[in-house]
Symmetry: C3
Subunit: 349 residues, 3 copies
């Protein structure tokens, strides 16, 4: 439970930044300018925060050359402040510790292949022919199904469930409660009710993927659900069977993506968006929060569908008109026609 | 880990279909026409896929009599192609294996009643007076509360939680992370804050119900939450206390149903729909994705409420008008009145 | 498994109510007027339910003085009927039992501090330097991270995950599948993809907070996510990093709240609402179901944004007009201008 401490010279070196100030000053954490104390590091990347600088007790500030002359204290001058903050945050991470090796309470199938450098915590269960790669950490209560594989350095938080034959890439992070490989929602109607279509495909998660907590990613019906390298996903996201998500796309919380939707690369999908199935979304498409995406698009763009919030009395009057819009439109057309008949004719027409 | 193999004659027999081709040809899986190899089975149920047939390397095709003359290779002619595909998919399922009996790491209350043909995996916990029926499979980490019951052949995936006194029917499938029987959201306001209303009812899940991953189904306040036979439910669905869902209704992902809503039979609720509490939905009602259902209906129908997605610049201009709709409507009425005064009077009036 | 029984005199005393009827009549549960039998207690707080009284077989009715003369049977007269029902519901609760002390299958770190009156069920895992207070109950499969703390009398249902350094107050209830302290969704863009911002803050949950099942509450990036005393939260709620929720606010199911949103006290947020990040919501604000909240508000009020549901044929015609609203508005203005030119000039102008 020791606290990580780093000197400013170490940090400057790590960030490939220029240090102005006391090279031996020790830093043990990161905080914003308003709350940081002398042993903490801050950053400033917006003009609007400059007024916090004079009163700040921070130990040092990460900033760009543009802002360097605004602060007389210890500073780390970098080319990309926000990225530097992201990088340095890794140094002060203090996750729960999982001891190396396999905890005696874990239940590992005889045919599973566990790398000797993996860390498998209490009450994990690993299935037949599953493969756990070098440096992988399974937190307590993680279940890995038969024939599933988890590649090197991936970290899986408590109580995650990975179903059979799911493949997870390198350097991924998967948060608690997330389920990968549950059955897609496939049923054929019959006179006797819904006949289950067994979901025979799998899920392939690429490298460097982060998945939030309580997400559900279904296995393919036939073929695979695929989350490509570098995708990031927030909490409570639903990914249906045979969805594809392109490289480095970002999916915010409470998003649902229906079956066989094909999301391009470098897209951003804001919170509470719902995307219809069997559509293609172009690379670099961006969706505002709450958008209902019923059609695909072939060109990058920014899209939205939600209606603005109003005080409820106004909303009641306006929203009922929504059900009369076609009538309103027709009446406008009729008015235009009638008025045209009354107006003097333009001789140029 | 042996691969299932079936001859085409076996498959024809199983599907009650007509085989044209090599009766001894062996099939080990299912794939679509584009990717299937000689040991795989495909199906075709849409004219638009016919063009894939000539180049397909598939081992055999399931199709209807209408399409039979379109394909010269091995074929299984059936009356309902999609249903046949669903049925045959069961033969090639390859779930993680749970050994029969009770895993030594499972913690079973002394008063629990576990059928000798049930399979209870590692780290399951079964409470006092709980009942686990014949052929039931509990995957690892499943918790079954006191006095809960799980009827024959039901399959419960890893880390599912069934609270006390919940009753689950026969032949159900419940996916990982799902919680059944958590407290309904019931509180009485008081000067000292929210006073909890303890949720004394239960949950009854019928037979042949499938529930996706990370769903939450709350117990009743008084009386039960009831999911009738044959209901299917996708992932991340929220079912509040005292909801009733009629037979064979289908609930897609990310749907929320508020307390005491009474959903009829054979309804389909598309993704991201939110249904208000204390309303009745007629049998055979269908809701498009993203619909906000604030009122019940007494006749079957198809319903929707979402607004269309637009490129964000257009959306900004249009959506602000949504807050002015009542004003627009009033101005149209005023225009009509003024224009009527100007128009020659219809002598027939 | 004994059934709780209470005499009406005990109940009158507990509720501080006036008993009219048989003081020795024994009650073993609560039910509504229509289904209650002689050993059950009912309540009536709405005029519209009075017609159920004559035919009811209930053992006794909780009611206010206003209704007292409407019923001749056993009755408990109280000042606030619904609150009395809430309070009495606690007496008939029958949760799964967790034996006192630490179950032998639980895995407790050597440095964890477990109060001797806590109850820790099978397969729980408690991390280094974690603190479990007096009277706390951890149901099976709960994971408590390093340095997390759970204060007295809090009850945590099966398979909940509490990450490292999360602090949970007194008398809280947390339902199954909920995850508290997963990483906030913070990433810096870079040429090499998304650079993770390690989430160095924590989560502070106040006293008397109830959290439903399968919720996700993320830890702060820097500083804490804070849920204040007396907040209640339904299922499948997403709380992003650094969100603050004020005292006694109520958050219904399927709500998502984005990062750094600051929700006031005594707010109610109905189901499926999505709240944008970095906005302030005033105390006593109320949001209808399905509202997309993109802007903050400084004064209390009731707000909504959803569009009404329609039969799909009408909806199709109306919803397409939504994409033409700005055009419609401009055409109305044009009509007004043209018509004004035709109308006789008002001499008063």
């Amino acid at each position: 439970m020791g606290i990580t401490k780093r000197s400013l010279s170490e940090l400057a070196n790590y960030l490939d930044g220029e240090l102005v100030g006391d090279a031996n000053h020790m830093i043990s954490g990161i905080a914003d300018l308003q709350t940081a104390g002398p042993s903490e590091l801050s950053f400033i990347n917006k003009e609007s925060y400059l007024h916090y600088l004079p009163a700040s007790s921070t130990g040092a500030v990460i900033l760009s050359a543009d802002f360097a002359d605004k602060y007389a204290g210890n500073k780390l001058i970098v080319s990309n402040t926000y990225l530097a903050y992201a990088k340095v945050s890794a140094l002060f991470e203090s996750l729960s510790v999982v001891a190396g090796g396999i905890h005696p309470s874990a239940v590992i199938a005889a045919t599973a292949n566990i790398d000797s450098t993996a860390s498998i915590a209490a009450n994990c269960v690993v299935g037949e022919f599953a493969s756990i790669g070098p440096g992988v950490t399974l937190y307590p209560g993680v279940c890995i199904g038969d024939r599933a594989s988890v590649a090197e350095n991936t970290l899986i938080h408590p109580n995650v469930v990975i179903y059979h034959a799911v493949s997870i890439g390198k350097n991924c992070i998967i948060h608690s409660g997330t389920v990968i490989g549950s059955d897609g929602f496939g049923f054929a109607p019959s006179r006797d009710g819904w006949q289950k279509i067994h979901q025979l495909g799998g899920v392939i998660i690429g490298d460097d993927v982060e998945i939030g907590s309580n997400c559900s990613i279904d296995r393919g019906a036939l073929g695979n659900t695929i989350i490509h390298d570098g995708v990031i996903m927030d909490n409570l996201v639903h990914i249906a069977h045979n969805v594809k998500i392109g490289k480095r796309s970002a999916i915010a919380g409470c998003v649902g993506i229906a079956g066989s939707a094909n999301i391009g690369a470098n897209c951003t999908v804001a919170g509470a968006v719902a995307i219809n199935g069997h559509i293609d979304i172009a690379d670099n498409s961006h969706f505002h929060g709450g958008t209902i995406v019923t059609k695909g698009n072939t060109e990058a763009g920014v899209f939205a569908s939600a209606t603005p919030m109003q005080e409820v009395k106004k909303w009641r009057r306006n929203s009922v008109r929504y059900t009369q819009l076609d009538d309103m439109s027709n009446r406008i057309r009729q008015l235009e026609k009638q008025l045209k008949a009354l107006l003097p004719t333009d001789p140029a027409e």
